[in-house]
Symmetry: C2
Subunit: 398 residues, 2 copies
């Protein structure tokens, strides 16, 4: 199947077809990246359905959600546990998180909006800019919470296919943005992209921002920024300082290992911060605030996790390629391996082997997304991979 | 000053006048009830302004924000610290919080929407129902975050005065709801009311719900529910089971002593839950989830805090009355004392004595709201009160 052609045909078929395509997407993200613990948006009457027991969960090798399996470092844990005394308070002293973010990212504190994870940034951008039926424009597969939120607020998404080498096609995004200018509330770029791990280069980001209609907001999701070592990549923070209509999303859920603590942030020009703030909960846990602030002051910890993760990723990719499988090059703490068979039963088979791997990312239904854990996790993954892939899997799906 | 006449005149003067009145309200809630830690909605460029140092803050008697100064009980702390292992995870096992809430409140799990504090419920209700310029209808003073949120999303508030004995005037609310039916997005009732501590009786709630235009949503904020012992009061949870357009807000920030952990919930008919959910962050800290679930299973803890708080409150009120001051009877963990002088300089004087007391609640600018702490807190409060009130305070205001 040529993904690009299939999807392009749908896109070229016009907006209605493109939107029809959106609606065929499965809703499989509920346990995923921005998912803040159980039941982000559960179906009524179904709390906890499909959740493992605590003992089962603890026993799994967790390679499904791009978490940092090294866990929270001691210095950050200390910063959190030192502040239990404020757990019952409202007006507790400011740990200086806005200032710490501003220093870390080279922006001003007033450009920073701290949120309950970067997932909240994605939702808030949607609620702020997808009013009056305006749509989000982005690629597929990408982090689909953005597109799902658009549909829940009665907006919608225009989703473009990736290139043949799984990259975001900036020319195609620009064409679509211009063609559908009046319909678009904002453009979404995940960089590096989840689930492919591919970057948009700094030159491509510049091309995008220079080429988009003036004032069209661009949400650049840098959840995996800290894992990139490709010199062709750069953060988009400097564009905020230039006053461009750019919102950069960051999170402490990935390299900082604080996914369930729920803290992230947006960096944007103050005019955009003011537009978004009414729709942000502003409700961030005190321990998360102290932990995140301590994280920002511990760059060597992040560098160490990055180094170890990249080494483990490259070793695993090498092993998979030696087994004859195509692996998409990655700049993040996950990668995609081509299975040459339907991914859904393979995911289930991994679970039966005690290994949690990524959900399906249609239309890439023959690729498996694997998060990079600690070396022991990857050993369990490889043992299970060899076992599962040496057998035929059923293709029956519920 | 007859508050009722002043405000009624403005209200009778029509919506424009009423809205003009709204706009005169000060924006002093930033460190208050729903304030989730530092900088809920900071002015750009002013992060941390006015925040005390950690040492200063720790030394204060904290009677400003209706917190539970007894703190988190050991069993709840244990439930939280036992689950640090999930701090970096997304898909961790469900502690069963929706089910625990449903059992505690006699509703169904599908009626429950867990949020990052009840402040998030208030904002989400505003975002959901104050669209197309629709307004919130309620009394003043009440918990003003609701009204402030309305203005930030380009909506507005219709605020009615309290009765002479500081109660919510149900007849007046019904009159206004009918007169302005097409303009109103939802009705807000804080029960018991913050800052007065007065309840709306169960008969009055029934009168309100039976009398309102069909389908008009009513947000009943029961943040202080757990402190009420007046037999004329009842929770409004049963109206959710009847399918009325009622949203009940609850929080773990008050009697559960978890303000900075950020967890609360809404209970509403499923149709309303579905309308609100797209605007909720869904982003709740894992430790807060486990702690809240443990709290719901520890009713004796709540009963003990309630009993001790009421005893301390009544003793303090008795002492203030013995000094010749009017105190409004309270059904909550705070009360208002009439100062017969402007409250603002008194608040500052208390701070200089190491005691944090409530912010001003216009138009009740000569009443001080005092949270009920542990007995030692109230002793510090009374010593400071006698000292401050024995001296004239300046009435100069910045």
């Amino acid at each position: 199947m040529n993904l690009k052609n299939v999807s392009r045909r749908k896109f070229v078929g016009g907006l209605a077809a493109a939107l029809g395509y959106v609606s065929t997407g499965p809703n499989l993200d509920v346990f995923a990246q921005g998912q803040p613990g159980p039941q982000r948006r559960p179906g009524p009457g179904a709390p906890g359905v499909g959740r493992p027991s605590e003992a089962d969960y603890d026993s799994f090798a967790k390679l499904a959600n791009n978490e940092n399996n090294y866990g929270i470092p001691d210095s950050v844990m200390q910063a959190m546990t030192d502040h239990w005394k404020y757990a019952g308070r409202y007006g507790y002293p400011d740990p200086g998180i806005n200032q710490a973010i501003a220093e870390f990212d080279g922006v001003k504190p007033e450009n920073v909006m701290v949120t309950a994870g970067s997932g909240e940034v994605l939702d808030v951008v949607g609620t702020t800019y997808c009013t009056n039926g305006k749509k989000v424009l982005g690629v597929e597969p990408s982090y689909s919470q953005v597109y799902q939120h658009a549909t829940t607020i009665k907006s919608d998404a225009i989703k473009l296919p990736l290139t043949k080498d799984y990259r975001q096609d900036i020319d195609m995004i620009l064409d679509a943005a211009k063609k559908h200018q009046d319909e678009i509330g904002f453009v979404y770029v995940c960089n590096p992209n989840n689930p492919t791990g591919q970057i948009v280069t700094k030159d491509e980001i510049k091309q995008l921002l220079d080429g988009l209609p003036a004032g069209m907001p661009v949400l650049i999701d840098e959840a995996y920024h800290h894992y990139v070592d490709d010199p062709n990549y750069a953060t988009s923070m400097p564009y905020v300082n230039e006053g461009r209509s750019v919102i950069v999303a960051r999170t402490f859920s990935k390299i900082a290992a604080m996914a369930a603590m729920r803290i992230g942030y947006a960096v944007a020009p103050t005019a955009l911060v003011q537009q978004m703030r009414p729709y942000a909960s502003g409700s961030v846990n005190v321990l998360a605030r102290y932990g995140a602030t301590a994280t920002l002051k511990n760059k060597p910890m992040m560098e160490e996790v990055k180094r170890k993760t990249i080494a483990t990723r490259e070793k695993t990719i090498k092993d998979l390629r030696a087994l004859g499988y195509e692996v998409i090059p990655s700049q993040s703490n996950f990668f995609m391996v081509g299975l040459r068979r339907d991914v859904q039963p393979v995911i289930q088979a991994f679970r039966e082997e005690g290994v949690l791997v990524g959900r399906p990312f249609p239309p890439m239904t023959q690729h498996l997304r694997v998060s990079v854990g600690v070396p022991e996790d990857m050993e369990r993954f490889l043992v299970a991979f060899k076992k599962i892939m040496s057998q035929p899997t059923t293709t029956a799906r519920g």
